[in-house]
């Protein structure tokens, strides 16, 4: 995997594994809420859930991948609970294409653009553009088939494109 590296197969305590990735988990949570207090709340809740489920974790070597999934789901629940979302109409078009053919980050401030997305959509931008993950690794985290991840990713880009002024993201 890219940044989400496999951990040692020797069993390590939860706290030790968490120590190695807690900053990354916080950044992901922060992207959802853009607020330090709420991001801390999300990571704290995800840690609580993760600790309780740690004994049942199937692949301890992918601890960060597993915790990332918990943080993403916790952040989505948090946003849905608090209704702090700017909803937008779904874009019916589906997109396909090579994963390196989208220089979107050069055309658009994706960090700001996160605010335009549904909670369920934010992870695709965070993982692809901020974490530089491959679709295969995103599929592991999101527990979805790789092709489904690709389709949804390009659909989300289409949404962002539709909200920009003409010509701002030419070439996407």
């Amino acid at each position: 995997m890219n940044e989400l590296k496999a951990q040692s197969p020797v069993p390590q305590p939860f706290a030790e594994l968490l120590q190695d990735c807690r900053n990354n988990l916080f950044r992901k949570a922060y992207c959802y809420v853009k607020n330090e207090h709420e991001a801390l709340e999300i990571v704290s809740e995800a840690t609580y859930k993760g600790y309780l489920a740690f004994g049942r974790m199937k692949t301890p070597q992918y601890f960060e991948t597993w915790m990332t999934r918990i943080v993403i789901n916790t952040a989505i629940d948090h946003l849905n609970r608090n209704k702090r979302v700017t909803y937008m109409e779904d874009h019916p078009q589906s997109y396909t294409g090579d994963e390196h053919a989208v220089p979107l980050e050069e055309k658009l401030d994706l960090y700001q653009a996160l605010d335009r997305l549904l909670p369920e959509e934010k992870a695709y931008i965070i993982l692809k553009f901020f974490e530089d993950l491959r679709f295969r690794d995103m599929a592991d985290i999101l527990e979805l088939p790789e092709n489904t991840v690709k389709t949804r990713f390009y659909k989300i880009i289409g949404k962002l494109k539709a909200h920009l002024k003409d010509g701002e993201v030419e070439g996407i």
Binding site: P11, Q12, P13, F14, A15, E16, L18, Q19, R22, N23, F26, R27, Y30, C31, E36, L40, V43, S44, E45, T47, Y48, Y51, L52, F54, G55, R56, M57, K58, P60, E105, E106, L108, D109, L110, Y111, Q112, A113, I125, I126, F129, F130, D132
Partner: protein
């Protein structure tokens, strides 16, 4: 600045570590509550049996006990005490009698905090667990208990709950013991006698973890293998191993390991091992 740069520059708050530690402590407390609920009905069902089985010769046990409070119960193993928080502990040792005395809020505690005492063989040992004790001077307790000539070793087990305390008292072969719980003041008294005959050592089989230093790794193994009745033994080199058993035959131990390793979440960190009933596991 690109979105990625802004992402990389998200400031990590200084209190992140503390907040995540608090979340883990909360999870530990939650797990303990669930566990207590799970076992409370079972405990109620067997408590009557314990009260009978546990008292081998109450009259004899009490004849030499000086009056230090009101006797609540006499037992060899089992549970007792009352729910407290922040009880302090001190010990008094006189010959073969070790008194664990509890104080609360600067005065003597009326009752003993909630406790459990397990008796295990191979090696012969007592496992004490106290809940609701935050000012436990473990070092003093260890020193006092080790002063008894009938005790071969005392060591601590780590629990993922900072208000709980567990320690193991290994008894010399042939040592018999009686525990007496008192109220007013809350005291637990361990009386040891060398009356019993040492049985011939025999090979005992266990499912065990690797030896490792005392710490959170072991405590997590307790959470994982809780339903397998896991305990913790000091190894020959002074490390500690999680052990499940002991069984009279290797086949029984292998069957147990097979049952554990068939589980989805098994991490592949256990093996079958054996040692003499009066000995310790190797590393």
């Amino acid at each position: 600045m690109t979105g990625k740069d802004r992402y990389a520059q998200i400031e990590i708050p200084a209190q992140l570590g503390d907040i995540l530690e608090a979340a883990q402590r909360k999870a530990v407390a939650r797990r303990r509550t669930v566990r207590l609920k799970r076992y409370s009905s079972l405990a109620a069902a067997i408590i009557a049996c314990l009260l009978v089985v546990n008292i081998p010769d109450v009259a004899n046990a009490l004849s030499k006990v000086p009056v230090v409070g009101s006797i609540v119960k006499v037992l060899q193993f089992g549970t007792g005490g009352e729910r407290t928080d922040g009880a302090a502990v001190s010990t008094v040792t006189a010959e073969d009698t070790i008194r664990i005395v509890f104080d609360q809020e600067g005065g003597t505690a009326v009752s003993v905090p909630s406790y459990a005492v397990d008796q295990r063989q191979a090696p012969n040992r007592l496992i004490f667990t106290f809940n609701g004790v935050r000012s436990f001077d473990y070092d003093a307790l260890e020193q006092d208990i080790l002063a008894s000539p009938l005790v071969s070793d005392v060591y601590r087990n780590i629990i993922l709950d900072d208000s709980a305390m567990r320690f193991v008292v290994e008894l010399k072969e042939g040592t018999r013991h009686t525990l007496t719980e008192y109220s007013n003041p809350g005291t637990l008294e361990l009386k040891l006698t060398a009356e019993g005959k040492a049985s011939a050592p025999k090979e005992v089989y266990y499912v065990r973890s690797e030896g490792m230093p005392q710490g959170e790794s072991l405590a997590i193994l307790e959470e994982i293998y809780l339903d397998d009745d896991v305990t913790f033994l000091k190894t020959a080199s002074g490390d500690f191993a999680a052990v499940i058993g002991g069984f009279a035959t290797r086949e029984e131990a292998e069957q147990k390991l097979a049952a554990i390793s068939a589980r989805e979440d098994y991490a592949g960190n256990l093996r079958v091992d054996s040692w003499m009933s009066n000995g310790h596991p190797d590393d």
